[in-house]
């Protein structure tokens, strides 16, 4: 399964990069979101995956008695997901706003502040 997940990471990165190289603003944002997903999965995988062992201390004890999934990557990813939502929301609204003003979402037409 690790090999499959590693390939998924690679695919998400590749797809994200391919999309941010496109000229459309919308595709750029989708690309960024995919890159974010890829990075999250990368962190998750590198914390080692294990099934059925969430980092929650059992009801009756005060410490872990058994093995448990690494909580630090999870905490990191949780933060990353929330922060990337802030970025995505802002980017989506910015693109919408920019499109209303300049009537294009072609990045290559936005390389100058002058009217073309």
């Amino acid at each position: 399964m690790e090999i499959l997940l590693a390939m998924t990471i690679g695919l998400l990165y590749a797809a994200g990069i391919f999309l941010i190289l496109r000229r459309s603003m919308v595709r750029l944002i989708i690309g960024l979101i995919l890159l974010g997903n890829g990075a999250n999965l990368l962190i998750f995988l590198l914390g080692r995956i294990s099934k059925g062992k969430p980092p929650i201390i059992p009801e009756e004890s005060k410490v872990f008695l058994d093995a448990y999934a690494d909580p630090i990557p999870q905490a990191l990813i949780l933060t990353a997901i929330v922060i990337s939502f802030g970025l995505q929301a802002y980017a989506i609204i910015l693109v919408k706003r920019a499109y209303r003003v300049v009537k294009t979402d072609d990045i290559e037409e936005m390389i100058t502040t002058d009217e073309i």
Binding site: E2, L4, L21, S50, V63, F85, Y90
Partner: protein, 773 residues
């Protein structure tokens, strides 16, 4: 604290203060501040005249054990002569500038720069420390940049100023390299300490002696406008004439000569020194004299004769004989006297008639009699006609070339030839404009005394020193020669040596000089021919380098900073792929420990399969809605993967956020444009390759990392203490809200800022004039 050299900083501070006083803008033209400015150089002149007797005085004012360099001044015969020239001629120039710039704008600014230049020059000739000398040296370049480009609205002026600072600045930089090598092999940066015979022997026998000497010589040659670096000096004639008279006759250009003279006892009399100085000086003096002969602009003639005279000085310093050193000591003074008066004369004529073209000027004698006398006296001294001081100088030059073993005929020959041409050039400036028919310029009259008295003072001094050499023999010239040779010199200047070869050569020079003057009539045709020769060499190279530099930086900027996001990203990613790829390919083993892996169940296989399909849909769907929906599906599959692998919190968060993102997208989607349908192009192949390389690398890297044992020390600490310290059972939650609570708070701040941004973008109403429509 009694010796005068220790009072030098006070003088420097006084000059600096007056520079500031002058630099404060004034509404009045020729205000009190500019009219009083000559008092500063006059005061400094008296200080050097009365405070020093030519014996060597050194003072270390400040030093620190950690610094090899120190603040120290030396005043000896050489430094004193230069200081006297700088301040003495400076006094006259300041008086002259007040007359010349009368009614002009920015007189104060000019004087402020002139004073700054004077300060820098004094620093150059009085510093004992190499680094200090270099700093002042650069300061002369910088202040002369402002002076040459003083008429900053004129393009030619700006170009000349840039040319001058490029050449002298580059030379200065090379010289700094030489200085540092010299300081390191000598073990001291103090020039005074280098004159110790043991240190000299250590320096001259060192393996780095040759490069060091070449570096220092390059600095001196560029500053003193030696062929082939001479072209900046004629270009610098764009400066107002008081500037040319000051910088380009007696001071700035002589800094190179000063430097050579200063290092003559330490570095002189070696093979490289003699060869370089004799050959460069020799070529410069004859080439520039020839160039001077065919010019029509008075300042141009003077510029080339100055280059030629500098060549003579460098040449003499290369000969190194006692006679040559005596000759150069005297010639520095002689040249400063007549050349400064020539320049002021040219400036006055230009000021009064509006032209400096000698083919247009004639008959000024009647209107400007005193100026005519100045011209004759300066030409007299320039030509070396007895009893001027120039005659004494030329005598010594011939004596030293005649005495040079082996090549005496050659050297004497080119000296005589150079002097013949200089003689004729002097007549072109000092004689020709005053002779002949009176030109019909109306109201040409004798200008105010400040425009001709300073020139007259210098011209008369030139004659006076020639008639009474005892005035300068022991007080000025002997200490200079002593400083240059390093040994005690005893020179006896006298006018009459009896009938000997030198006298005959002098007579020959005069006769042929007059003859040349009679034949030569500079005009446009000859000028064009002569200019042609100047087009070759480093001037062209310099322009080519400068243009090439501008063009290539233009190209680099336009290529790299093209404003296209895709290119920036491709460069960054391409670089990343190269570097990471190299490391990964050279260090990865590509072996995977099968036992560490978990099995793939059917549920997982299907989930990942859906994810793969969604990615392809997102990539290649032509519909925006389909792409966004597929993106949402990717998020949900990740969510399921988090559930599989023991991360319930992540799954919940991912689910919420992904849903929100998709909703937001869809909400604004109808306002967004359709995807641009672009045909398949080579761009896609390149982008795809880059994307796949990065993706592949990420896969390899993550697999590689999985082969190493994870470090769980911090995780174990959190897990152990989650309940014991923080009373929470969900470790991920405890980490976020308790152990790293401050981080989470800042994260909330970031989100709030994003929310404010989103809100204001939505509510923003543009004013009419800001709208595109």
């Amino acid at each position: 604290m009694d010796s005068a050299v220790e009072k030098l900083p006070i003088l420097f501070v006084c000059i600096l203060l007056y520079i500031i006083v002058l630099a404060i803008p004034s509404v009045r033209k020729n205000g009190v501040r500019s009219r009083l400015s000559p008092l500063i150089p006059i005061g400094a002149f008296l200080f050097f005249l009365l405070g020093f007797d030519g014996s060597k005085q050194t003072a270390v004012l400040w030093s620190h054990e950690l610094l090899p360099t120190q603040l120290s001044f030396t005043v000896d015969g050489l430094g004193r002569l230069f200081a006297l020239l700088i301040t003495g001629i400076g006094s006259l120039i300041f008086i002259y500038a007040n007359g010349y710039m009368k009614g002009a704008k920015y007189t104060q600014r000019l004087q402020s720069f002139l004073l700054l230049f004077m300060l820098a020059m004094l620093g150059v000739v009085l510093s004992d420390d190499l680094i200090m000398l270099f700093i002042f040296w650069e300061l002369t370049s910088i202040s002369s940049f402002f002076l040459i480009g003083f008429k900053n609205e004129d393009e030619a002026s700006r170009k000349s100023a840039l040319q001058a600072i490029a050449i002298t600045g580059l030379g200065g930089l090379v010289m700094l390299g030489g200085f540092i090598i010299l300081g390191e092999i000598a073990g001291t940066y103090s020039i005074a300490e280098m004159s110790n015979p043991e240190v000299i022997a250590a320096i001259t026998s060192h393996a780095w002696f040759a490069p060091m000497l070449i570096f220092i010589l390059l600095g001196a040659f560029t500053k003193s406008a030696q062929f082939p670096f001479h072209f900046w000096l004629p270009g610098a004639m764009k400066a107002p004439t008081p500037v040319s008279a000051y910088l380009h006759s007696a001071t700035m250009v002589k800094a190179g000569v000063y430097l050579l003279a200063r290092f003559s006892p330490v570095l002189g009399d070696t093979l490289i020194w003699n060869t370089a100085l004799i050959s460069f000086g020799g070529v410069t003096m004859i080439y520039a004299a020839f160039q001077a002969l065919f010019r029509t602009d008075m300042k141009s003639i003077l510029a080339y004769t100055t280059v030629s005279a500098l060549g003579i000085m460098v040449f003499l310093l290369g000969l190194q004989s006692s006679d040559a050193i005596a000759a150069v000591s005297l010639f520095i003074l002689v040249h400063a006297l007549y050349k400064a008066s020539f320049f002021m004369l040219a400036g006055t004529i230009d000021h009064e008639t509006g032209t400096r073209d000698i083919s247009k000027l004639s008959g000024l004698k009647t209107a400007m009699m005193p100026l005519f006398i100045v011209g004759i006296l300066a030409a007299w001294s320039n030509g070396g006609v007895p009893p001027s001081v120039g005659f004494l100088g030329k005598d010594l030059i011939y004596e030293s070339t005649l005495a040079f073993p082996g090549l005496n005929y050659l050297f004497t020959g080119i000296s005589v030839l150079t002097n013949i041409m200089l003689f004729a050039a002097g007549l072109l400036v000092g004689w020709l404009p005053f002779r002949g028919q009176k030109i019909s310029h109306k109201d040409i009259h004798l200008p105010t005394p400040s425009l001709w008295v300073p020139a007259a003072v210098l011209a008369v001094l030139g004659m006076l020193f020639g008639l009474f050499p005892a005035l300068i023999n022991d007080s000025l010239i002997n200490p200079v020669a002593t400083a240059i040779s390093g040994n005690t010199e005893n020179i006896h200047l006298k006018l009459w040596h009896g009938f000997n070869t030198v006298l005959y050569l002098s007579l020959l020079t005069m006769g042929l000089g007059v003859l040349t003057y009679a034949i030569i009539r500079p005009g446009a045709r000859l000028l064009g021919f002569i200019e042609y020769a100047e087009q070759f060499g480093p001037k062209r190279l310099l322009h080519a380098i400068a243009n090439g530099f501008i063009q290539s930086s233009d190209w680099v900027t336009k290529t790299l900073q093209n404003g296209k996001l895709r290119i920036y990203l491709l460069v960054i990613l391409g670089f990343l792929v190269l570097i990471l790829g190299y490391v990964v390919l050279s260090e990865t083993t590509f072996t995977i420990d099968q036992e560490m892996l978990t099995n793939i169940t059917i549920y997982e296989g299907i989930t990942v399969g859906i994810l793969f399909i969604s990615v392809f849909l997102t990539l290649f769907s032509g519909s925006r809605l389909a792409a966004v929906a597929a993106m949402g599906v990717i998020g949900y599959t990740l969510c399921i993967i988090f559930v599989f692998y023991s991360a319930p919190d992540l799954a919940m968060t991912q689910f919420t956020i992904d849903t929100l993102t998709v909703i937001l997208f869809v909400l604004v989607l109808y306002r967004l444009p359709r995807f641009i349908r672009l045909d398949f192009s080579p761009r896609h192949i390149l982008d795809g390759l880059v994307a796949l390389s990065v993706g592949g690398l990420m896969t390899i890297i993550s697999l590689e990392v999985l082969q190493r044992m994870p470090e769980r020390e911090i995780s174990d600490y959190y897990a152990l203490n989650a309940y014991l310290l923080a009373k929470g059972k969900n470790v991920v939650n405890v980490i976020l809200v308790d152990f790293r609570g401050a981080d989470t708070m800042i994260e909330i701040v970031v989100l709030s800022i994003a929310a404010i941004g989103v809100y204001s973008l939505l509510k923003l109403r543009l004013r009419k004039n800001e709208k595109m429509e």
